[in-house]
Amino acid sequence: MIADRIVLTLAATAVIVVAGWAYLRLGDRALAALPRGAYRRLVPWLFAGPAVAMVLLALAFPAAVTVGWSFVDADGGFAGFANYVQTLSDEVTRIALRNTVLWVVLLPSLAVLVGLAIAVLAERVRYGALVKAALFLPIAISAVAAGVIWSFMYDYQPPGAAQTATLNAVVTALGGEPVAWIVDTATNNYALIGATLWTQAGFAMVIFDAALRSVPGELLEAARLDGASEWKAFRHVTLPFLVPTVVVVATTMTVTALKAFDIVYVMTNGNYGTDVLSTVMYRALFTAKDNGLAGAVATILMLTVVPIMVFNVRQFRRETGVA
């Protein structure tokens, strides 16, 4: 079986490369036989056509169908907003909505805070590269592996037993009682958001790090010569330059928070009041097998990202001048 997989990987890759090359080469040559005007009109679609078709088939059409189904009842009749009313009046969905709001508030603000702080402060210590590496590595770690890592960090043994998990060992060493971080409803949502922050803060740091290089050094020097403290120089010179970057990081993290699924699925499977919209939708789809309900939850999720989508498109138009 393993040999099969290796052969499949190599063969598929070769076929894709050769087929792609042949398609563009032969298509280009065939179109070149046409009059010049027709060639110019058609050749962009030779190149863009496959990607556009895939995006329409895999994203745009299914999304439209989902929105449509959210208005259909289990028997296929028109349901109006019944699915929405049903899901929104369900305690589970309301908890998920509350948690999603918590994610959307905390994850972007903490990612900006940690990413910006380390990007700025790592420049000022000799071991800065090491610190950056520590934040950077978890970027490559899947939410599944991060789920294992943090479940292990948060693990709980009853008081008196040996605390073999890091966090409770620290808590008991400081004289506290061990906390069931993942089960206790006072801590578990923060625990999940913290685990996600651990995988995401590196992204924020890398982006801030690059943005800091665009801050004119002369301005900072001038501020320091005028007697500004490091904090004042940061606050009044550096920070204004970083505002667009803060917006970029915050919107990216907001989308990450809205889509959060993997880490919740692995660490709690939505139990103990940790559901988010994605896990509710997953269960509506696979446990309850209710397309209308799953569609309604997915549509609610979709609506929450629309403002960011509009913002991104406007930003893109402004920067590239695309009408």
Partner: protein
């Protein structure tokens, strides 16, 4: 000037060190705990914390990895991940590059409409597409097949791919294309002999990004491959291990280490490309 003044007030910099060291410790300790635990025998993991193993040198073993790999389908899952990720990544880069060239280098009707739609679709939560896609896949018998999941990853990965490469291609000087056209080169020739070679760093950046991204995906694999053990990739296999709750931390941690190894190696070896891709993809637009 700065150095002298900073040295004069070194004690005022203590908070800086506290914050930086504190964050570094919080970020490094979980990873350290994972790696150390994955090499400890199960009796040790049950009775003491991973940090205590430093006091008992020689207390490490490869047994956990042997047990994980002996598990039904675990070793296979590693290669399933490769069979999912490599073709999906190549497909995404290939179709993305062709489309980005058309959008950045040619003028045609609907060009802005296509471009703006793609920018808008980058952040669509894929959850909204899953129900109808799964229906169609069941109808076409694509669920549980590699072809099926390549197509899903392709569809979901393309908006970002096109966007990222468009940003790169748009920065290639137009004179380069125009000179080639003067010489009678067709669009296809320009694409293969100018655009692709010039854009190699961009393609590498996208490929690494996509590779790590697809390797780490759980949701798509769960839905389109999840029910089929013999094609399940690493993320699904590890999450099933966690869900079954039958194993000690030494097994879970070594499985997690195995699942992280490949993307981590790719990422560390090629991080410069990765960072460039990240910056072009996020902060330019």
């Amino acid at each position: 000037m700065g150095a002298a003044r900073l040295r004069a007030v070194w004690w005022r910099r203590i908070p800086v060190h506290v914050v930086v060291v504190g964050v570094a410790v919080i970020w490094a300790v979980p990873l350290l705990g994972l790696v150390v635990s994955a090499f400890r025998p199960s009796w040790a993991v049950l009775s003491s914390g991973w940090w205590e193993s430093f006091a008992l040198p020689g207390d490490y073993t490869l047994e956990n990895y042997r047990r994980v790999l002996d598990r039904d389908g675990m070793a296979l899952s590693l290669f399933n991940s490769l069979a999912v990720v490599v073709p999906a990544t190549v497909l995404t880069v290939a179709l993305g590059a062709a489309a980005a060239y058309a959008l950045a280098g040619m003028r045609f009707r609907l060009r802005s409409a296509v471009l703006l739609t793609i920018v808008a679709l980058i952040i669509v939560p894929i959850q909204i597409t899953l129900v109808p896609l799964l229906r169609v896949f069941n109808l076409l018998d694509l669920t549980g097949s590699f072809l099926g999941i390549w197509l899903v990853h392709l569809g979901f990965g393309l908006p970002f791919a096109v966007y990222l490469l468009h940003n790169f291609f748009a920065a290639i000087p137009r004179e380069l294309f125009e000179a080639a056209e003067m010489d009678g080169a067709s669009r296809g020739q320009i694409f293969f002999s100018i655009v692709l070679p010039v854009a190699r760093p961009a393609l590498a950046a996208l490929a690494i990004f996509d590779f790590v991204w697809t390797w780490n995906d759980l949701l798509v694999a769960l839905i389109f491959l999840g029910g089929f053990r013999d094609v399940a990739p690493m993320t699904v296999a590890v999450s099933q291990l966690v869900a079954s709750r039958g194993d000690g931390w030494e097994i879970l941690t070594s499985a997690a280490v195995l699942s992280v190894l490949v993307p981590m190696a790719v990422f560390v070896a090629l991080q410069r490309h990765f960072v460039r891709g990240l910056l072009a993809g996020v902060s330019k637009g």
